[in-house]
Structure formats: structure tokens, C-alpha cells
Symmetry: C4
């Protein structure tokens, strides 16, 4: 993936994922808080489940598409791992990226199974997400040997976002539905996305300007830049959360709730996520 596109592509995915999750969790949180004024019309339990299934399907699709792309497109290893004639590993980079996608794909499949059947406990989806993030960070961590100082540093900063996301997802196994943790994870995913773009600009600048890889001032600037990305992500996630909250409330005000007698069955829906837990 040693190219600008190779960093911009996953960056865009994580950015979209972070924003999408923010919208989703904000909507559900607003729904839960305004239950008594009939907000379940906006996001019923059945529609929540349907959304999760669609999201998981998309994750599975892109993961397996990514794995195939790494293997067969543009000089991939075509499933060959070792060159026995010349005695060296083939395309280890592509294999590593495919392994990262594999874990996100597994997380997607498990999430699909959880929301279509009742085979697994519900919190398993957060655990799988934590493992997928952890595995991504784990492979990156042992990826950095022998690179130049600034290259190592920008990837190390990326690890903060990745391992942070893994840690928060693991906490969510025990505190599912905690909106604070969910927003922190969204925020870290957005940071991961924008930081992938930043890495692309630093290492493979499309404008052609090259960064001095050994200048200590560059390192200090990049560190500060990571803080700015974090602040920007917090701002973005916060604004989106407010927009969704306000949207839900204003829509609830305009359309008065139906009679309570009709609403009750759906409110007491036994398959609802936050009542089971």
C-alpha cells in the first residue's frame, strides 16, 4: 500500500464508518431518551435490527472485496505465499492487509449472525470489533521495523487511534449502550480515517513536496497535528450528535404521538436491545 491512494482509501472508509456510527448511536440515544413522547416511531426495535443487518452486510462485502483486491488486482500474490524457487516470502504486505480485512470481515459475519439468529450473546459484536481493531494495530505495530524516523512516528500516532478504539470497544462489552463510550469510539474512528489521509499527504504527497524524514521539528509538528485531528474529530462528532438530537426532538414536537394504547406493544418489544441487557 505504499502509495497515496493506498492510504486515502482505508482513510475514507474509517471516516465514513465513524460518521455513520455517530449518526446511528445518536439517533438511538435520542430515541431512548424521548421514549415517553413516542419516539419509538422514529427508530423501532425492528428497524434497528434491520439497520444492523444492512450495516454488517456492507462490512462483510467490502472486507471480502478488499481481500480479493489485495490478492488478485495490480500485482497481487494470487494466493501464492512462498516462492520456493527463490526462497522468499511473496507480497507480505498484501497478505498482511488481507489479514486485517479478514478480521473486520469476521466481525461483520458474527454481527450478521447475532442480529439474524439468537445463536450468540448480543455483546459479542463489540468483542469482535475490539479484536478486529486490536489485530489491525498488532500487525501495524510489527510493521514498522527499519523505517525512517518520521515514517515510524506517523504510524505510531495511528496506533493511538487504533488501540484506543480497540480498548473502548472492549469496555463496551461490559457497558453496552453507554453513549459516552460509543461517541469516543466514533471519534477515534474518525481520527483514524483523517490520520490515514494525513499519512498519505506526509509520506506520498500528491503535490510532490517531500518531507525531511529526520527533522525533529517535523516530528514535533506532526505530534501537534495529531492533536488537531483529534479536536476536529471531537467537533465533528459533537456537531453531528447535536444535529441528530435536535432533529429527533423537533420532529417529535411537530407530529404528536399516537394514543398510548397503540404504542405500548412496540415499547415493550421483548427483542429490544437495551432491555435484554
Amino acid at each position: 500500500m505504499g502509495s497515496f491512494k493506498g492510504h486515502a482509501l482505508p482513510g475514507s472508509f474509517f471516516l465514513v464508518a465513524g460518521l455513520w456510527w455517530t449518526a446511528k448511536y445518536s439517533l438511538w440515544h435520542a430515541t431512548r431518551r424521548n421514549k415517553n413522547v413516542g419516539s419509538t416511531r422514529l427508530a423501532s426495535r425492528a428497524s434497528q435490527r434491520r439497520l444492523e443487518i444492512i450495516e454488517s452486510s456492507i462490512v462483510v462485502f467490502f472486507s471480502f472485496f478488499g481481500m480479493l483486491a489485495e490478492q488478485f488486482f495490480a500485482g497481487g500474490p494470487k494466493l501464492r505465499l512462498y516462492d520456493f524457487t527463490e526462497k522468499h516470502w511473496e507480497y507480505l504486505m498484501n497478505w498482511q492487509h488481507a489479514t486485517m480485512y479478514l478480521f473486520f470481515g469476521l466481525a461483520g459475519i458474527v454481527s450478521l449472525i447475532i442480529h439474524t439468529t439468537e445463536a450468540f450473546p448480543l455483546t459479542l459484536d463489540r468483542l469482535m470489533m475490539a479484536i478486529a481493531f486490536f489485530n489491525e494495530g498488532f500487525l501495524f505495530f510489527y510493521h514498522l521495523h527499519g523505517r525512517s524516523m518520521l515514517d515510524v512516528h506517523v504510524h505510531q500516532l495511528l496506533l493511538y487511534a487504533i488501540f484506543g478504539g480497540a480498548f473502548v470497544a472492549f469496555l463496551e462489552v461490559f457497558q453496552r449502550g453507554n453513549i459516552i463510550l460509543e461517541l469516543v469510539r466514533c471519534c477515534l474512528t474518525v481520527v483514524q480515517g483523517t490520520w490515514f489521509w494525513q499519512i498519505g499527504f506526509v509520506l506520498y504527497s500528491p503535490s510532490g513536496t517531500e518531507w525531511d524524514m529526520k527533522d525533529h521539528n517535523n516530528m514535533m509538528f506532526i505530534t501537534m497535528c495529531f492533536s488537531w485531528h483529534l479536536a476536529f474529530a471531537m467537533l465533528l462528532v459533537g456537531l453531528l450528535y447535536c444535529a441528530v438530537s435536535c432533529g429527533v426532538r423537533s420532529r417529535l414536537k411537530r407530529t404528536p404521538p399516537m394514543e398510548m394504547g397503540l404504542l405500548k406493544p412496540s415499547e415493550r418489544d421483548p427483542e429490544s436491545e437495551d432491555e435484554i441487557l
Copy 2:
């Protein structure tokens, strides 16, 4: 900030913040404990909220004043980040300090929004404080490259107080209102304040005596000195807590509570912090 004043100034802020928080949390804890004897007269829910709003406003004001000062006073970068003619970063130090203030400012703004509207969940203020402390420590951590041994060591010790504060604030997201955690955070903030002063005295001694930056004995002494600062901060916080507790109790004894019938509405105040959580 390579000067005595540059360390004494933030030190004084943290010292004042630590003592102020100690007084605030001690008062509220004493109020909660003595509820049955009518202590809500001393700190009603409305007055608590008013206090939080004032505190947040002050934090926001000083943060943005600090950012402006770093940018425009005494040789600041005046918002210029890169010198294209000489190809180097401008005033990275000032930019880094401004970034630190930015996060404290954001924490203040979020706290303001939380206590004036109901847009965000209440515990978000502790999370923002944890992130602000973490960001401060994060920038300091990558700040130390290439300095002399004792200089690095005194800043590393500072990181104990900063990251400790961030960790405790993060725990408070899940255990809000736990007086033990609150006092530990106050204590670490006081240590941070006094240790900034200590750093000023060690690196830029106003009396002119210079410390040998490579002497191992100096390092051993400084380590022990940090323990003393911690003990001193514990003593200070403990005494302040006792004073406030005693003050509340003696004042409650002197003025007998009003009739219970009048008090009940305010006791059951639905916006009270520790009942919502």
C-alpha cells in the same frame, strides 16, 4: 515557555484549580451527607449549577486568553505556522502550548453547554477533562527529545501527575460523584501545580544557582522531592476537606433546619446531579 515565569504561571493556575475543586467537591459531599438535617440550604441544586457555569466560563476565558497570548504577545507566531522562505516551522513551542489551551477550552465549552442546556449527557464533562489532561501529557511526552537528563526527568515526573489526573477523570466517567476519586484528582492537580513551580526553580532558578544536569544524585533527590510534593498536596487537600466538612456541620448546628414540609420540594429536585446518575 523556556523561562521561570513560563512555568510559574501554569503552575499557579493548576494549584488554584486543585484547591478550588477540593473546596467545591468537599462542600457538595458534606451537603449530600447531611441532607437529612437540611444542608441543601447551603448548596442547592440551582446554586451548584450556577457555580459550574461560572467555573466553566472562567476556564473558557483563560484558555482563549492563553491562546491569544501565545500567538500575539512577545514574539509569538501571529498565526503563521510555516516560514516558506526559510523552510522551517515557526514557533512550534507557542503552537503546542496554544494546542494544550485549546483542549482545556473545549472542555470548558462542553461543560458550559452541559450545565446550561440538556444537549449532552452529564458525564461528558469528566471525559472532556480526561481528554484535555491526556492531550497535555501527550504533547509533553513527545516534547522531551534531545534534552539533558535532569530536564527530561523533571518533565517525566510531571507526566505522572498529568496522566494520573487523566486516568482518574476517565474513571469518574463511570463513578461520578465518588468523593475518593474526586479528591485524588484534586490532589494530582495540586501536585501538577507545585511541580511546575519546582521545574521553574530547577531549570531557570531565579536565584541564579545552576543545577548540574547530569549528576545522578540530583536525579535521586528530584525523585524524592516529587514524593514530598505529593505528601504536601495530600496534606493540603486533606486539611481543606476537613475544614469544609467541619464548617458545614457547625453552621448546620447553629441554624436549625426549617420545617420538613418546606424542604421536601428542593430535596426531590429532579435536576439534582446525583439522583439523575
Copy 3:
């Protein structure tokens, strides 16, 4: 244990243990979830306790057999620790392995005592398991000095599985019966088992091919390989869990439950694990 067999043997043990635990916890979880349809016939409290006693006895037996084997078989130290004539430690490797077995043996003995008498609190078995894993990792950690790069790396990766298992077992002290944590521990134990086999193949390949111990590409491949082991273990544990769950449900459907009046006493069995806790 510097041989292929010396790694394959513990590997097989951990693999079997991981799979056995998966089956056991899956069965009990399915039993708890289907309580209302009379599943306690399949795994009553008394049979659970009996199973634990048998398992602990086997653990104790193999631990002490392993200790004896390390001491007396094939050139062991025969309980001699120091050679006073030549002034050096004897067979430190064998002694270290015996020490690892000792802690697993202790864990087994404590588990036996817990499930036959009521002398210790129930959760102590998880703590002893956490300590046994921690001790194994602790001895491995200080085992690696002066070895070649790839040798160190494969053992470091093993530490992820060992310390991960210890950490999860420690969490279970506070969250006993959490099926997610139990399955994670099973998974990490299976990884430990298969990774021991992998180490055997890398360091003492039975086919005679030697790995270049200093090639960075080998290190990158091995890191990725660990991810594959993890994915494989997750698949294995997941399939086993599903198989057991389906088995329990299909068997419950075929044989309708006895009358409720007869079942109640055993359902309310006061010595049941998850009600005491």
C-alpha cells in the same frame, strides 16, 4: 525442552484444554438459558460439580506427573539444584518447567478443595488460574535473554496468548459466569496450544528445513501467522459453541420436560453456581 516434542506436548495439552473448556462452558450457558424448558436435566448442579472435580483431578495428576518427568526422566536434575563441585546451576530449564507445572498443580488442588468442601470462596479457582498463567508468562518472559531474533519473537507472540489468558481469568474473578469472557479465555488457550506447535515447527522443524533466524521477512510472516492462528481459534471455538447450543436445543425439543413440580427442587438447588454468585 529444546526439541519439537517438547513444544508439541504442552501445545497438545493447551489445545485439548481450550476445546474442553469451550464445550463445558457452552453446555452450561445453554443450560442456563433454557432453564424454563427443563434443561437442568442435561447438566444438573450436582453433575456440574462432579465434572469440575474430575477436571481438577486430571489437572493435578498431569501437573505432578509433568514435574516428576522433568526431574527424573531423560537426564533430569533428579532434584539436585546446584552443582557445588563445578559451581553452576543444574538443569535450570527443567526446574523452570517444573515450576510452571507446580502452579497449574496448585490451581488444580485449590479447585478440588473448592468443589469438594466449602473452605474457600468459589471465585478463587479463577484467581489461581490467572496466577498460573501469569507465572508461566513471567518465567517465559525472563527466559528469552540472548536468543536469536526470530526465536525471541515467536516466544514474545506466545506471551500475548499467555498474559491475555491470565488477564481474562483475572477479570472473571469479578464477572464469573460471563460467557463472553469464558469464550475469550478458551480461544486464547487454543491459540496457545496451536502456537506451541508452530514454535516447534519453526525452531525444530521435523522436516529438517531451517528458518533464517535473522530475516526480517520471516518475522513479518510469523506475526501475520499469529493472527491466522487467532482467527482459526476463534472459528473453532465459535463452531463448537454453536454445535453444543444446537445440540442442547434439539435434544430439549425431542424430550418434553417432566412436570414442573418435580423439577423445581433441583432448579432451586441452593448450591448452584450462578445463584450463589
Copy 4:
């Protein structure tokens, strides 16, 4: 403290403290478990409180005696910190040890205040204990610069016991009265005690045999030896726990409880530790 006695003395203190705590917590746990058969005769709330006061007084006494001894006995600094004529720090070792004692002394004083008045919340005693252990480990950690390999290693192993104890005491702030955590802390305190003795034997062997400070085999043996200390401590603590539990039960059987009517007031004693929390 560079002498055999200097290590044997604190070792003996920690050993006695560990065993004493084991007996105390075992007795209280047995008392709580057998409440319904009138065990409160053996350890009433008032007697528990009295015991805590005596224990704290002893801790305070020895801490301040230790500080005085470090300052004034056998070549101590006599409160002089800096030699201005020769420009070097005086007796930094003694000052560091005195600082360690200071924190244990503070923990004792706070414990005294907690159990005689109601000024502080009850769990503060565990926090102070955690801080005292942490401070001990913190000072040891920066104590090791420039020593020989084996010397550093034996002290690093000690840090496992010290920081382990601090961590467990910190957990107890949130899980007070959890017998598992209490026994783990007792165990680690016993290990700390016996390991101080071990350090004395390794570095300042009274029999005169000298250890080769750079031999890697010695390091491997010492690591294993630490595991044995841990196993021994676990055995000791386990046996003591069993003995106390059996003692309480056999004594309760011999003397039948008084009538329930008489017992109830003391059972519902409002100052009881585990009901307040």
C-alpha cells in the same frame, strides 16, 4: 540500607504484616459468613474498630520511629539535606527510606482518624495504603540506576510484589471487603517480606559466599526463585485462612448461640463496616 540487616528488618515487618492481615481478614470473613449462628460474639463491630485503631497506632509508631532512626542513628543525616561547603546531597539513601516510612506513617494516621472519627470516608484507608505502596515502588524504581545486573534484577522482581500490592489495594477502594482481593494483597505482602530477606542473602550473604553479579544463569535461577516465594506465600496464606475458618466454626459449634432476641441489636449495629458500604 546496604547491609543484610537493612533488608532483613523491613522484610520481617512486611512478613508479619502480611500474616497479621491474613488472620484479621480471615476472621472477619468467617464472622460475616457465620452471622446467622451468632458469630458476632467472636468479632463484634466494636472490637473490629478497636483492632483497627490498635493496628494503625502500631503502624504510626514504627513509621515515625523508622524515620527518626534513619535520621539520627548510626551516621544518619541528622535532618541536614545539602552540604553547602562540598556541594553535594547528604545521605540521600537515608532520606529516601525516611520518605517511604513517611507515606506508611500518613496511611496509619489517616486510618486512625477514619476509625476514631467520621471525618473521612471509610475507603480512604485502602487508597492511602495503595499510595504508600506505590510511593515505595516509585522510589525503588528510580533507585536502580547504574547498579550491576543481578542487583537490578532482584530489585525489579521486588517491584512486582510492591506495585501488585498497590494495584490490589487500589481495586479494594471500589470492592471493599472482597476477601479474594484482601488475600491477594496479604499474599503479595508476604512475598515482599520474604523477598527482602532473599535480597539480603543474595547481595550481602551473611555466610560470605558471593554471587556472580553478571552470570545469566544466576538471573534465571533468581527469577524462578521468585515464583517459589510466591507459591510459598500462597501456601502460607491459604493454610492460615483455613486454620482461622476452621477455628471459628469449631468454636461456634461448641458454644451454642444465645437467644436471637439478645443478638439482634449487635447484628444490626449501624456502624458495621460491610453494611455502610
